[in-house]
Amino acid sequence: MSKHFCRCSIITASFSLILGCSDATPVFYESDNPQRLSDWNLFNLSSNDFVPSSESIVFRPANQLFTDYAHKLRTLWIPDGAQAMLVDGEIDYPAGTVLSKTFYYPTDSQGSPIRQPDFGDSSVNLSTNKLIETRLLVRRTNGWEAFPYVWNNDQTEAFLRVAGASTNIDLKSDIENFDFVYFVPNENQCAGCHVTEHPDGDMHPLGAIASQLSSSFLKNQSQITALVDRGWLDQYPDVSSPISWMDESANIDERAQAYLNIHCGHCHNPSGAADTSALLLDGSHNLLVNMGVCKRPVAAGGGAGNMLYSIVPGNPDRSILLYRMESDEPDEMMPELGRSIIHKEGINLIERWIREMPGSCPD
């Protein structure tokens, strides 16, 4: 099926845009796990561009997870004749749905990755960007499955890497350089976040959900509207767009909770993998102690950073929560997965939130 990619570049190379490429029509696999991303036909790849099939929708959730300043291009595709249903206020996608998320970095003239803001492009120019990985979340009859594909250096194909992969990135910016190992998650690690009810819950999307899609994106249109207009969703959910943690006009408490929810809530919820710690960061806490205020660590080990409490109001420097966000040591850092470098903008937000929080903890 990578013949398709190949044919496309042949035509582009020979006749430029006169003939153009025939648009890819995505293919759904109920049981096979193709070794090559091209077999899914989700993208039109030439030597110059990486363009999602026009049959997919490019989307962006209201709150995006930090992944080492990588840019992300997300697509959603539902096969002809299938439709997602609203069930208990959440989108229940039909079998055949394929979600993709491609991670890439802008590059300088030498081809080295550079840090730039991600404005949510709907295609990737390969002369000024480098593709790293494409993760698929595929809705099969028996539920969602995750597949990590890793791009080769030639940018001609991405291969299924069930066990994940790692690659050295030297990311440059005007302010500072980041030299780190970028990790592609293995399939179990995909489940580590996408199974929020541990351990017997099902895998499910975290970004393409009703609340996160209620925000507007391309064409300044609510992404939910785009789904309904296409006939991909049977009705409008009754949710409002969540506060974005990046929205500086919003209340600091709501911004901080939005940030913690998207980065921590998939494990730190009452039935999540991190419920063993009794720290709840998905907004479900009844007592402030359950959100970490004056909460003692349970099994944090060195991750406690020789501190007594997760959050000490007014005192970010004595708060384990911030300490773990500021760490890039694998046994201390939080989130455990999804980043190798620290997220300064997130740290600044949580630092300010704790500093402005009223109250104190016993010494």
Binding site: A13, H198, P199, G301, A304, P330, D331, E336
Partner: protein, 402 residues
């Protein structure tokens, strides 16, 4: 650039060859031992045995298993080694979320965090597995060696746990547990049973830890009401290593020289053990209040109850206590700390013989610290504790793994 080459290849194929592109298909990458092991763990089917060959295998990322019914088997506790000395990702060595799990005959060394974490798994057997930090007792070592949590029907047999900066063998928030024939040394806590129910801990050796064996019940956790643990036929010797836990963690409060510490747990039967030279005290029975940590948990019972200590042997110990009240006591009496130390606190209305009974322990010394009254009047009389409590039942695992 390769892109140019690709373009040329494409043009040449247009120029008449009309060849399929398969000849130019990019090659798939090869896998390292580590990657193929992780791939095996992901693609395993129930009933599979995944073998770890002899040798030291370098791991750089956490391994994980989510498939039930899988056995991971090495060639021996010292011969098949997964070494995480160069680990750069993941908070544990091997993370298991899978029922009907067996791991045997291998070692996990030098993980950055916990060595073997088994979360929410049922029917688990860990046999002849060693978890070790090879640099000795260091604060920078990972927290737990063998670490089942929120799990049930757990057998840990023939394990060796060395160097954990929290607990070598730690079973938390679990039930139906057997830990036996194992050796824990140079950990902060050798063997710890925490917020768990129905455990048998026997025929183990706990030595050179800060605390040999700990049976704890803590507030604020999703699983509470720790009770019904039998600690028997263990050798609990010379657990005098200075506490090297990172601050903030509860085990950081364990005094060096603690043989067996029971904290706020109920229905504990302690018999047939040999306690030797644990220099704070051979046995400490404490309420959570002794930690001086506040808690807001209405359902939490901070007091130990129904502790039954019989037919044990005590040799030495208590000569160098590592806790303020015990140091003060030693200064007052000029004697070593007694074998059994109880802080003396209990719910009002309770009788001393509902908290602690001791009999047939040979020459045993005892103190009630009177902690509730600022340690004002320590009491060395065992008369209130010359009583019997019913024996607890043997644990039998539903798996029959024992």
């Amino acid at each position: 650039m390769n892109k140019v080459i690709f373009k040329i290849a494409a043009l040449s194929s247009i120029a008449g060859l009309l060849a399929t592109c398969s000849e130019q298909q990019p090659a798939a990458p090869g896998l390292s031992f580590e990657e193929s092991l992780q791939q095996q763990l992901i693609e395993a089917q129930p009933g599979d045995v995944i073998e770890i060959p002899a040798g030291t295998h370098e791991m750089t990322r956490s391994l994980s298993l989510n498939v039930p019914g899988v056995t991971i088997r090495g060639t021996g506790i010292d011969s098949s080694v997964l070494s995480f000395a160069n680990q750069i990702q993941g908070a544990e060595g091997l993370l298991v979320n899978a029922d009907d799990f067996v791991i045997e005959d291998l070692a996990i060394e030098d993980t950055v965090g916990d060595a073997l974490k088994i979360n929410e798994s049922h029917n688990v057997a860990v046999r002849n597995v060693r978890t070790e930090w090879t640099g000795g007792a260091l604060t920078t070592n990972g927290a737990y060696g063998i670490y089942p949590v929120q799990s049930s029907n757990i057998l840990i047999d023939g394990a060796v746990a060395i160097g954990a900066s929290d607990a070598g063998i730690y079973v938390g928030q679990s039930n139906q547990i057997i830990v036996r024939n194992s050796r824990a040394e140079y950990n902060v806590a050798g063997i710890e049973i925490e917020n768990s129910t129905f455990a048998d801990v026997y025929d183990n050796v706990a030595t050179n830890n800060t605390g040999g064996i700990l049976v704890f019940d803590l507030p604020g956790l999703p699983v509470q009401g720790g009770r019904n643990t039998r600690v028997f036929n263990n050798e609990i010797i010379n657990n005098n290593t200075g506490n090297f836990a990172p601050e903030g963690n509860i085990v950081g409060t364990v005094p060096a020289g603690s043989g067996l510490m029971i904290l706020a747990n109920d229905s504990i039967e302690v018999f047939g053990n040999t306690f030797t030279d644990n220099n704070s005290a051979n046995i400490l029975i404490l309420s959570y209040y002794i930690t001086e940590r506040p808690f807001e948990d209405e359902n939490y019972d901070p007091f130990p109850e129904a502790i039954n200590i019989h037919n044990n042997e005590f040799n030495g110990g208590g000569t160098e206590p590592d806790s303020e009240p015990l140091v003060a006591l030693q200064a007052n009496t000029g004697q070593p700390i007694p074998d059994v130390v109880w802080d003396g606190t209990m719910l009002s209305g309770k009788q001393a013989n509902e908290i602690l009974c001791m009999r047939q322990n040979g020459e045993i010394s005892f103190v009630n610290l009177d902690a509730g009254n600022g340690f004002a009047a320590p009491n060395f009389d065992t008369a209130d504790h010359n009583c019997e409590l019913p024996a607890l039942s043997e644990i039998s695992l539903s798996t029959g793994a024992e």
